[in-house]
Assembly symmetry: C2
Homo-oligomer: 425 residues x 2
């Protein structure tokens, strides 16, 4: 499939991707758009012109300032809209002419991405983060000073996707500065308060819920994928000194709730079909409520981490969305097993996507062994300039981008998930 | 202060209380009301008639279906409205005549509470639960089979209010049935899945945030009380078997996120001034960001727990809102120390309000020593009928009500915080 929109082949925003986002631009208030090439297709403009009339959907859901109402319509509607958008954007269809050959409409409906400002795609009601990479768990567990019962990676993480509730109010869209948090941590075993000295990133993948479930009614694992609207890259910034001081027995709190950054574009699962693969093998057999029909339930998407400073980009590490024990469908089935209601716009993260090798680590905590062995990054150009970090410094910009997914992956792009560390005022 | 509204003296809803709630009634859609005696003052009716014109507030905030916009106006506005409402409800003011002597308006503006259905007072963005009773921590810690490092009540709970993010989507208003959750727990050390066999209540007190803070900007402890709109009774239902299986290392998740019940009426802190007292003494000195100017920063409010079955009410235990190490102001200062944004309608709980004596326990986990010694409850009438519970059974109704607060406390009522346990379908 190819599209008539200019420059599409120079970006990952092909007609096979078509991710959703919320953007504004000069003379355009916040609205829903779909990325195509170097442009954004303005769905509000199309909806107002009756373009979707034949689809029998509530077009007002496409005229909103967030994706919540549209996402709640369910996967059947989203598939119909996706197929329709592909048909008007493809080079080889007669329907494509409707937009391509109408210069005035084209100008109104296609906005250069460079001119757009991106916003949070959803009003996020609840945000849940899981802990599904066994490599991350093993690496972090090995860093603890003494092997303590109850602090090692627990056996339970193989029996179910372990998760915790995060802070939805501190989720921000890519580009938002990240203020170094103050907090309480131990200095020479005594409580102290000040700016975190162990600021870290965490490479994650996250799903936005589309259609929710009624309070008290679980979502069966075989139906759970239908409740996913799309996926984003996510940086769950962490203050390791604050986190380690507070985390027993209730889990992460202020060490995490100062900021979580997501990519601007929400990619439908249908765009990722060719990247399906199996999750990390487990030595346990799952209880029936977590058993899926198919085996290729996760995705093989490398996520590169860059540190930008003084206009130089240094490659640090790479995570991969396949490094997990459980699929999003299993996370959803587990999350709702007791009746917990998920709502449109709820966000569900995988946890840090570390793999089994030293270059496949998803945070500095692991890569530097709790700051004891600084990580060296280098530019990808011929100069191979170096940079070294134990923890993040003020002024560092951390960027997540999808890496090389091979011949199948050309069309996958979420936009950059980035944030600049700024000091306390 | 006395009011001209009939029957006020037979309830805790005096003119000194004036809590807010969201109600509907025949021919009245959801709206904001204030409880007075056996009635609800319909603020939407008053706002539409221009009653608040002299107060210079955005009256549309009083015509909403939740309290979010009104609460966000800040304490200055709420004090002004409270004083105004007191003046029109008092028996001894000339302003009182405006409503009292207008039979038609009175009929329109005062709705019998019996005819009203109560709803969630806020659209709750984020819900945070703290862990601030040292007695609860000690009791629960003593129940663990072996004293394990990292699982005992940590020293950190004296240095800061330990908290975790709860699930806002599962918070319900009093009266909503509580479905016994299914979940994963260990049976003979092996993972199993089924309805929880250890269903429990937790007696808590919780604050709703009014005016929020900007992302990145902490709320100083001395200003934190101004960000509280009001307080409710809260039952943080818990499935102990699910909770103990999942809680290491990330804290409570499915063991809690199936349901949390709050009382229908949100009481302003100004109504509780006479009940102020000191928190539980601590052996540690606090860091400056948690140091308050005054000492009486918590409230002495006993909360009685009843089990109702077959129209009989059995008294089980009593908690008290004073059994905590940290005030709401300290919880807010700590919560926002790293820049986490609080928004209007966010909910903050104290954690289980157990005290130092066997009758002052806030959950069955403590009162029955993890189910090993069933708790006996008895009716408060002359018959002294008995009931015994290790854990909650299907059909049990758990009710929290404010106990005897002495001569100062007559005017404090939150309404009943209740829920009936219903089985899995």
């Amino acid at each position: 499939m190819d599209t008539w929109v200019e420059d599409h082949h120079q970006s990952g925003f092909s007609v096979q991707n078509l991710p959703y986002g919320i953007f504004s631009a000069p003379e355009r208030d916040r609205r829903i758009g779909v990325a195509i090439g170097r442009h954004i297709l303005d769905l509000k403009v199309l909806a107002e012109k009756g373009t979707f009339a034949a689809l029998d959907i509530d077009k007002t859901t496409l005229e909103e300032q967030t994706l919540n109402r549209y996402a709640a319509l369910g996967q059947g509607v989203h598939r119909k809209v996706r197929a329709f958008l592909q048909s008007i954007l493809r080079a080889d269809t007669s329907l494509g002419r409707f937009l391509r050959d109408d210069a005035a409409l084209k100008k109104e409906a296609l906005v250069p991405r460079q001119k757009a400002e991106m916003h949070l795609p959803f009003d996020i009601g609840d945000y849940t983060d899981f802990f599904t990479s066994p490599y991350h768990a093993q690496n972090v567990g090995a860093l603890r000073p003494r092997p303590l019962p109850g602090t090692q990676p627990p056996e339970s993480m193989y029996n179910m996707p372990l998760g915790y509730h995060g802070r939805s109010s501190s989720v921000v869209v890519s580009g938002t500065p990240v203020r170094r948090p103050r907090g309480q941590f131990l200095v020479n075993e005594a409580p102290a308060f000040g700016p975190s000295q162990k600021l870290d990133f965490e490479v994650e993948f996250a799903a936005f819920i589309g259609k929710g479930n009624e309070h008290g009614i679980a979502i069966p694992v075989v139906e759970a994928e239908e409740h996913i609207f799309g996926v984003v890259l996510m940086n769950d910034w962490s203050a390791r000194d604050i986190q380690s001081t507070e985390a027993t027995p209730l889990g992460p709190f202020n060490g995490k709730n100062f900021c979580t950054t997501i990519s601007p574009w929400v990619v439908p699962l249908d765009a990722l079909e060719l990247l399906r693969t199996k999750p990390v093998p487990s030595h346990t057999s799952l209880l029936p409520y977590l058993q899926e029909a198919r085996k290729d339930t996760v995705y093989d998407i490398p996520i590169d981490v860059f540190l930008e400073l003084d206009s130089q980009e240094y490659h640090l590490v790479q995570g991969n969305t396949k490094n997990i024990l459980f699929s999003f469908a299993q996370m959803i089935a587990h999350h709702t097993a007791g009746g917990c209601p998920l709502k449109s716009g709820d966000l569900i993260g995988t946890g840090t996507l570390s793999g089994s090798t030293p270059s496949e680590l998803g945070c500095l905590l692991e890569a530097t062994r709790n700051g004891s062995q600084p990580l060296e990054g280098s530019t990808l150009d011929v100069h191979k300039r170096k940079i070294s970090r134990a923890w993040l410094e003020d002024g560092d910009v951390i960027k997540f981008r999808v890496g090389n997914t091979g011949s199948n992956g050309r069309h996958v792009d979420f936009g950059c998930c980035e944030g600049k560390v700024v000091p306390q005022p």
